[in-house]
């Protein structure tokens, strides 16, 4: 690489050159966007009209649908986690382990149902079914299940089950908000809620996607029954996922 430079310093330099290139590239995009919006071709009145009618003031129906899309995404994420954990639990718990398969299929089917038919009945089915799954999780983490290698022994809380339970609690909160009508009232009266609702889907579903992926990796690594096993490496600053 570089003849007259320490390898570490050369790497540090390359790191920062890469970072600089990225920042400059982003700055060019930002400059072009600013020019398009505020540049000479735009008149003041046009800009004001643009601000007044910006896309986040989207039709209420579109914003209204954001909550349903997020709730469906949460249910799908929980379904993937349950289905990923099903084979190992079926082998460990026998027929009781099939509950993971039932829970996963229910959550996947319900996610599809709520997207196509967002009725009060669908919402109630979601709340009751999801609370049933949460109740089973609470039993397994407090008093333990009556089957398995160690009956009536509480299991440790791990990333996958913790994540899916958080998803499920958020589903219940979201559906309750929808049933009570809090979201629709806020969407109708507050522009800030419409703005948040319009942009919330991507970060919410992105986080669900990432968390579900990490949980699935944890299941594949065999660490679903507890926090990731942390192993300091030689440098003392690195850890690893898995046993």
């Amino acid at each position: 690489m570089s003849q007259g430079m320490e390898p570490g310093a050369a790497h540090e330099l390359i790191h920062w050159i890469a970072a600089l290139v990225l920042v400059l590239g982003g700055a060019i995009f930002l400059a072009l966007a600013a020019h398009q919006r505020y540049g000479a071709g735009r008149q003041g009145g046009e800009v004001r009209a643009a601000r007044r009618d910006r896309p986040t003031d989207a039709p209420n129906e579109a914003v209204d649908r954001s909550l349903i899309q997020i709730v469906a995404g949460l249910s799908l994420g929980a379904a993937v986690i349950h289905l990923a954990a099903a084979p190992a639990h079926y082998a460990e718990l026998g027929d009781v382990g099939a509950g993971f398969l039932v829970a996963g299929v229910f959550q996947a089917v319900w996610a599809r149902a709520v997207l196509t038919s967002s009725t009060r009945r669908t919402a109630w089915v979601g709340i009751v079914g999801t609370l049933g799954i949460v109740a089973a999780w609470i039993v397994s983490r407090s008093v333990g299940l009556p089957v398995g290698a160690e009956p009536w022994t509480p299991e440790a809380i791990g990333l996958p089950d913790g994540a899916s339970t958080i998803f499920e609690l958020l589903i219940v909160v979201g559906l309750t908000v929808r049933l009570v009508g809090i979201d629709r009232a806020a969407i109708a009266t507050r522009a800030s809620v419409r703005s948040i609702g319009a942009v919330a889907v991507i970060p919410a579903l992105g986080l669900v996607l990432l968390t579900t992926s990490l949980a699935t990796v944890a299941i594949a690594a065999g660490v679903e029954h507890g926090p990731p096993h942390v192993t300091p490496l030689a440098s003392g600053e690195h850890v690893t996922l898995g046993h």
């Binding site: 920062w16 398009q36 009209a49 986080l207 600053e237």
Partner: protein, 133 residues
């Protein structure tokens, strides 16, 4: 499509391709990206997965959405990367999930994706509506 929407699409496509490549190349474990001590961007399987998935998300925004939906989505993508940036900055191993600590260039990548997505998206707000009028 107006120019600001083209910029939103262009930036989403660029971010998507870069993230997708970083994630895919990371699995190859080369001297540029991977778990090697001397890699330019030190990553691991979980981090590669994050880059792959968010890259696919950015490409979906670029080529699967249009108009106000696309603009709002790129703002949302910026918010997502703000969360990722803050989380990885607070814990470079993401609370033990990454086998390799995120280094400075990765923080810069996360920050740049967040800032540029938010900036391009927010500046594109309204432009499409104004042009339609």
């Amino acid at each position: 499509m107006n120019n600001n929407n083209s910029l939103v699409m262009g930036w989403s496509a660029l971010a998507g391709i870069v993230l997708l490549l970083a994630g895919a190349v990371g699995f190859l474990n080369t001297s540029l990206v991977g778990t090697s001590e001397n890699a330019l961007l030190r990553t691991d399987t979980v981090h590669n997965l994050v880059h792959l998935l968010t890259g696919l998300l950015a490409l979906t925004i670029a080529f699967g959405l249009k108009g106000p939906q696309q603009v709002n989505a790129v703002i949302g993508f910026g918010v997502l990367y703000v969360i990722i940036f803050v989380a990885v900055l607070a814990s470079p191993t993401l609370f033990g999930l990454f086998s390799v600590s995120a280094n400075a260039p990765l923080h810069v990548i996360h920050a740049a994706v967040a800032v540029v997505s938010l900036g391009v998206g927010l500046m594109a707000r309204g432009s499409s509506t104004a042009m339609v009028r």
